[in-house]
């Protein structure tokens, strides 16, 4: 459904994306995972025909992003990172506006947005600028869907959103996917990667890896050891001072430890921490998560 071949884009001397190639299949929920500055927005804007690439080719459902921009705009729905609806129009007026622009009506495609829109319908006379963050997000999604797009592109829809609203948002995406909409979504939250069918891990304009989230962690060759003790600060410092330590990072209530050449046994670490008087020590080998993989790939 989306084909990206060797796309590059620079702003003056800054290379925003470097030679990126990706294939996204019809009906897939595809995630671009990476921090600010990874190039996620630039890539999306090129696909949305809002920005010209310096080199490379990309197609959206067989349409070329440079030549066929008019056709593409009819088949895509886009929710940019910054709220970009008309603040001084009401909820209802915004929705009608976008439906009209695309030559359709709210009634015609109401089915698609019902689950999302009904939550903000009680406030339909309110100006968009006066809505709460969560309601703005639902309105923006409704407006991006009102012309029944084949491809939906969402730029960091969950950034700065609390854990509950994030969960609800992903549930909405899963439902939309079942209605035969291909979804490309970007996020800086690594824990959201597992909710996608396929993900591209991005950093500094490059793709570190593309695969299903489970494959990405399964094929990761390194040995990750997690440790815990009563004093976190001391634990991190002591583990970093361990002679065979390569990487030591806090992971929630644990510390994740990678040894040089993976040549560290859990018993070794356990003894080391015991000697340093740590209390309630737990040391065990674990399966890596997406964030472990990302951190390892980005440090190369």
């Amino acid at each position: 459904m989306i084909t990206i071949k060797n796309i590059s884009k620079s702003y003056d001397k800054t290379e925003a994306i470097k030679n990126i190639s990706l294939e996204i299949n019809r009906g897939e929920l595809f995630g671009l995972i990476g921090p600010d500055g990874a190039g996620k927005t630039t890539l999306m804007r090129i696909l949305m025909t809002l920005l010209l690439p310096d080199s490379g080719k990309a197609k959206m459902d067989e349409f070329d992003v440079v030549k066929d921009f008019k056709e593409i705009r009819h088949i895509v729905g886009y929710m940019p990172g910054r709220f970009s609806l008309y603040q001084d129009l009401s909820v209802e007026e915004n929705l009608n506006f976008f439906a009209t622009v695309f030559g359709t009506t709210v009634e015609e495609n109401y089915d698609l947005i019902r689950d999302i829109y009904y939550q903000i319908e009680p406030f339909k006379k309110r100006r968009a600028g006066k809505l709460s963050g969560g309601m703005k997000q639902k309105l923006a999604l409704s407006c991006a869907l009102i012309h029944k797009p084949k491809i939906l592109v969402l730029d960091e829809p969950t950034t700065g959103v609390d854990a509950v609203s994030r969960k609800e948002f992903w549930e909405m995406l899963k439902k939309l996917q079942k209605k035969d909409i291909t979804i490309l979504v970007s996020t800086p939250y690594m824990d959201e990667a597992i909710l996608c069918d396929q993900v591209a891990l991005m950093q500094n304009g490059r793709i570190l890896d593309v695969d299903s989230p489970s494959r990405i962690t399964e094929k990761f060759p390194r040995k990750i050891i997690q440790a815990r003790s009563e004093n976190m600060f001391q634990l991190i410092n002591d583990l970093r001072n361990f002679e065979k330590a390569e990487a030591v990072y806090a992971f929630g209530q644990f510390v994740h430890f990678t040894g040089i050449e993976d040549d560290v046994e859990t018993t070794e670490l356990d003894n080391y921490l015991e000697k340093l008087n740590h209390k309630n020590i737990l040391v065990e080998e674990i399966n890596p998560g997406i964030e472990d993989v990302f951190m390892n790939l980005m440090e190369k």
């Binding site: 990476g34 921090p35 709460s132 609203s165 990072y249 929630g252």
Partner: protein
């Protein structure tokens, strides 16, 4: 344990809307206190009150030993504040930003110069000293913003979603700074949407609809709510 913040029956109303509905809690000296809640739960209102920027409708509050109604200026001298949205002046250099904040807090030129050199060395920013903040990577800005927020050695530092948008390594390096500050006796009051960061806190409070629904150590909260991580606890409370 010594209390550094005491809040008793805090109520804050905006017209008929109750943003903070009878909050009572203490924060201890040197702890990392996680202040969680859904968007709109009332966290920012509480933080603004604790920083002396907004007055409660009712309640008894002390911050760093000072009364929230009568001694707001003293409170401001004894706290630091940093958020993702407001931190440093983009069109000033690294060094100028330090000078500005040091000046505002009345730090002597001699002391500022000493501390500035120490700080730049620690953050590995010596070569960026005369660069504009606007051109620095986000991760550097965040570390610098935090270091400047504690430059005047406050008793408490408030961090309002300090780590958004950075890569996972940078995010953890930022937490190294938080641990270090707490280890040096600075109390850290932090809000975040990253639930793994909630696990790094000594104690966590979770707000919902203007009330504190839970407050305990991460381990205890997981036990009480029979959850495997704070994310699950949060979902159980705020959903």
């Amino acid at each position: 344990m010594e209390k550094i913040i005491t809040v008793k029956n805090l109520v804050k109303k905006f017209g008929s809307f109750t943003a903070n509905d009878n909050l009572t809690f203490d924060v201890f000296k040197g702890e990392i206190f996680g202040f969680l809640g859904a968007n709109g739960a009332g966290k920012t209102t509480t933080i603004r009150i604790l920083c002396g920027l907004s007055s409660p409708t009712s309640g008894e509050l002390k911050v760093a030993g000072f009364d929230i109604y009568k001694e707001t200026e003293k409170i401001k001298q004894n706290i630091g504040y940093m958020s993702q949205k407001f931190s440093l002046y983009e069109d000033l250099t690294v060094s100028e930003n330090i000078q500005l904040y040091a000046g505002i807090y009345g730090i002597s030129v001699k002391k500022r110069k000493e501390k500035e050199a120490e700080l730049l060395k620690k953050l590995d920013l010596e070569n960026a000293k005369n660069k504009l903040i606007g051109g620095l990577p986000l991760g550097w800005k965040q570390k610098l913003a935090f270091s400047i927020a504690i430059f005047h050695e406050p008793k408490i530092v408030f961090l309002d979603e300090p780590t958004g948008g950075v890569d996972p390594v940078t995010r953890r390096k930022f937490w190294d700074l938080i641990y270090e500050a707490a280890n040096n006796g600075i109390t850290v009051f932090v809000t975040t949407h990253y639930m793994d960061e909630a696990e790094y806190c000594d104690r966590v409070s979770i707000m919902d609809a203007g009330k504190i629904e839970a407050l305990d150590t991460p381990a205890k909260l997981k036990e009480i709510y029979n959850a495997k991580n704070i994310d699950e606890v949060f979902l159980k409370i705020a959903r």
